[in-house]
Symmetry: C2
Subunit: 550 residues, 2 copies
């Protein structure tokens, strides 16, 4: 067979930076300061000078050339800079969610063995208890900000601004092979144990390119994008890469994702026309804007992901002149893998608009019946959603391919190789709109964060009065979903919600605590003896709505 005779250039993150420097150097990046009011603003050109400066810092500190460099940080220009300085020197950025339970953060850092941690000043107390356990691998902790003398006493911290300040503004960027690892993000997974997804330069650049298409996000030079979704959630759905590749003006809202008034002010001031967040945020937006009809925003598109935005929210936002577009993705798909951008079938608008959307280029999807055969894409048949693509995980870090297709052995002999089993149950209609009908593992998505039902159940089962416990996700007007705990008490025992909470608060992070506990005589079971969550969900699906009504 004959190969083409075109140049081989590497699809690396450096090439995004170099393109942006060539054609978008004067574009603006705005970042809300920690006071929640004033802003930091500079150009792409100035940003990439600081990227070069931090690249020198990493070299001079003697950080290994394939080190993992962890971040516990908000949506700021500094955190964005790290998405270039780290991978463009061959190292691996590793975003860590500062809002996780401390024990989980510790676990993730122990697993990744980060040589450097870059942390917000607010995260100092959180980590202080763990440094001794990291001493075999952790070389430096760099606080994102100026020198703070009161911190110096606690730990030999470095300070980001002081470090980069003295460095040259140019760097001799190497041409990194495209298959090299560029970033690491842990998923909460389905067992409650985080698993690391290791992105490559190639997967990152292809994802950024694919997101540029008009049927995906389709930013352009005159777009003003505010990523509300945190950078520690799959790099704010690719915005450091896709946003800069497209030359958009970027507006980073710091840690104020939950403060609607601040977000709205920033949107007004910066003329934001497109944004990304979980449905919980958009619900708060809708309420805020409805209560403040005098506020006029230029926001046209609100990409919503993490869980599907319901029809009522989509319609309310539409009335406010804002189009909510459901997106779908996972840590394992480098964020967005499908998006509900255009409505093909206007007749069925209401059922179509709430779906996850259509696959982006390069994302292949198929539905598999439990018995192994593939199902038709007719919008009716439900099957296990299997995916394949440039931006899909092949295997987790430090693990064998735990969650690859159940039919892996069989499929590997086929032409198209292996598929990734998402663990979701879905339908795909004739226009390729994918709709998730169930989460195979019953995870709870609350306020944009996953809660493992298994973890809560395990904790509840530890209570001496409990015979059986099941946790299900129940729709919640504010948080999207909240965990509902259903228990069977041991004979002659009774148990209140308050008693349960007191017990669980010693074992669980605050937000994982169930919002209600229901004591029943018997929990329904499947024929094979497992708890039938399907039954429970049907029985209690409007439990928090009812509570609200009361």
């Amino acid at each position: 067979m004959m190969n083409g005779l075109m140049m081989h250039c590497n699809l690396n993150i450096t090439s995004i930076m170099q393109h942006a420097m060539m054609v978008h150097a004067d574009q603006e990046i705005v970042s809300l300061k920690s006071d929640g009011v004033s802003t930091h603003r500079y150009t792409y050109k100035a940003a990439f000078k600081r990227v070069a400066q931090f690249a020198h810092v990493l070299d001079q500190l003697g950080i290994s050339f394939d080190a993992k460099v962890g971040t516990l940080a908000w949506n700021t220009h500094q955190h964005m800079e790290l998405h270039y300085a780290i991978p463009c020197t061959g190292r691996i950025y590793h975003t860590i969610n500062p809002k996780l339970q401390p024990a989980q953060i510790k676990l993730i850092i122990l697993d990744a063995r980060d040589e450097v941690l870059l942390i917000e000043p607010e995260c100092v107390p959180l980590l202080n208890q763990f440094y001794e356990e990291f001493q075999s691998f952790l070389k430096y902790v760099i606080v994102l900000g100026d020198i703070q003398n009161e911190l110096m006493a606690e730990f030999p911290f470095q300070f980001y601004e002081a470090l980069i300040n003295i460095q040259p503004e140019c760097y001799d960027w190497q041409d990194i092979p495209e298959q090299r690892a560029s970033g690491l993000c842990y998923t909460s997974g389905t067992t409650g144990q985080p698993k690391g997804v290791l992105y490559s330069h190639r997967s990152t650049v292809l994802h950024a390119l694919i997101m540029s298409m008009n049927d995906a996000v389709g930013l352009h030079r005159s777009s003003v994008m505010m990523p509300i979704v945190p950078l520690y959630h799959i790099s704010a759905w690719d915005m450091p890469f896709n946003g800069i590749l497209c030359g958009a003006k970027l507006v980073w809202p710091n840690q104020f994702a939950g403060q609607t008034e601040k977000l709205v002010s920033l949107m007004q001031a910066e003329n934001v026309d497109i944004s990304m967040a979980v449905p919980t945020i958009w619900t708060a937006f809708k309420e805020y804007l409805s209560n403040h009809p005098q506020i006029k925003l230029n926001l046209k598109r609100a990409i919503s992901g993490g869980s599907a935005a319901p029809l009522a929210l989509i319609q309310s936002m539409h009335a406010l002149g804002i189009q909510i577009e459901n997106g779908w993705g996972m840590t394992e798909t480098s964020s967005l893998g499908a998006i509900n951008r255009t409505q093909i079938d206007q007749k069925n608008f209401e059922t179509q608009v709430i779906k996850c959307g259509r696959p982006v280029f390069g994302m292949q999807m198929q539905l598999r019946h439990h018995d192994g055969h593939l199902l038709a894409h007719d919008g009716v048949q439900e099957g296990i959603l299997e995916i394949r693509g440039h931006t899909v995980v092949h295997q987790y870090i430090h693990t064998s391919a735990q969650q690859l297709s159940r039919q892996q052995a069989q499929i590997e002999q086929q032409t198209y190789g292996q598929w990734f089993d998402t663990g979701d149950i879905a339908t795909i209609d004739t226009h390729a709109y994918m709709h998730i009908t169930d989460r195979a593992k019953d995870m709870i998505k609350s306020g944009g964060e996953w809660i493992s039902s298994v973890e809560v159940e395990n904790a509840a089962m530890g209570h001496p009065k409990i015979l059986e416990a099941a946790v299900i996700a129940v729709a919640h007007p504010k948080w999207g979903e909240r965990p509902l705990l259903v228990v069977v008490a041991k004979e002659n025992q009774t148990l209140s919600h308050e008693e349960m909470l007191m017990y669980l608060s010693n074992h669980l992070h605050k937000w994982s605590l169930p919002s209600a506990t229901i004591s029943v005589k018997e929990i329904p079971h499947t024929p094979t003896g497992k708890i039938s969550k399907k039954h429970l969900r049907e029985q209690y699906h409007d439990y928090f709505q009812q509570m609200d009504a009361v």
Copy 2:
């Protein structure tokens, strides 16, 4: 160093087809029939059924799995289908310009050794004289159309529609490695001798993806694109791939690129909003629309390439509601590599809008002084334009890298490897707008076709009365440029234009014939003894304008 752990999927043309089938199956493709009035229309879904059918044909005819399959064809749905059926079975499509001189077509086919030729019925007489010379490699000639009995007598032709008609509409597409060759296109080059550029699946898919960006072509599902530029010119600037990737409605104008009235009717009927052609076509459009003010078109964007559209044309079209966007590319860059899509610097609109535009993602550009050092991108300094990118030729087929950078040996030791020397002299300004100030090799671009000045000069020098001859490109109101022949006759000899034409018509294709011959006593020379074309161009730059005035 650590590699990422994401799936490797091949960037192959098959993946464009499969994505389009999944999400855009119901989109429409329209093709003007050879009567110039009626249209053929079908969906992507129907198109790819025929693609599968022709894939079976290629297999059943026993065509080698890496064969080159030549096409001499117009802008039709059939020719578009070939852009999938051939490469998605691992073979190499090879577009040949039917309007080239027959001797040049022969040369190209002899060089490529096409196993199959797919030709329009009109091309039958053209090729009939050559088949014997092709018999060592050419297995089949397939006429694009239904069976025509009168042709059957001349040669054992096959007929496209009859061949595919009986085939199954599904095909088991293989997953072709991305580095495999997918297509071949010969450039007229700078020496007058055609050179083949061999595209890979990877370069083709990346080009299509990059063209999808809003700062490039940026099509979307509701776009209606009519590629007037022929498919034999770098595959109509990528529209079979980029257009289908984006799910646009495609409108193919058959061989009627030169018939403005037909194009305008088709645009009206199909609601075309974006189109691509050389400036000559747009000049004709402008005149036609100015003379028919009652005609209303939905055309918004006219991408212009091949040579730079002048300011007057851009302004006249703007007055008609149509934005002309200059683009730049070469056969060696897989078509568009820069485009003048947005005006960054409104103060300098008039000087900026006539430039070639800004490089698309992945296209690196640098300017090199003749003495070897790199020049600043300040919009003033002129240097040799060198480029590098995913979609840039590495070497020509059957040749060593004839035209690679003059500093190749030096540069190969650098990080970024070799660059391609375009042979053009250019400036690049601070906003990355590239502007070609001279063609290093003095090619003449007439009506969208290249004419080699060297070829015309060599022919003229064959005339017994000629002492010296120089051919330059002179601006022409209709054709963009036309060749002007400047000669010095031998002592005591005189020579008229008519006499020269009579002689040259035996040696040159009709359109390469100079539009005027000027007899002079002396031709200016450079200090090193070469003809100073710069001088001649200055002296005769408005020659055809003056003639027009007379």
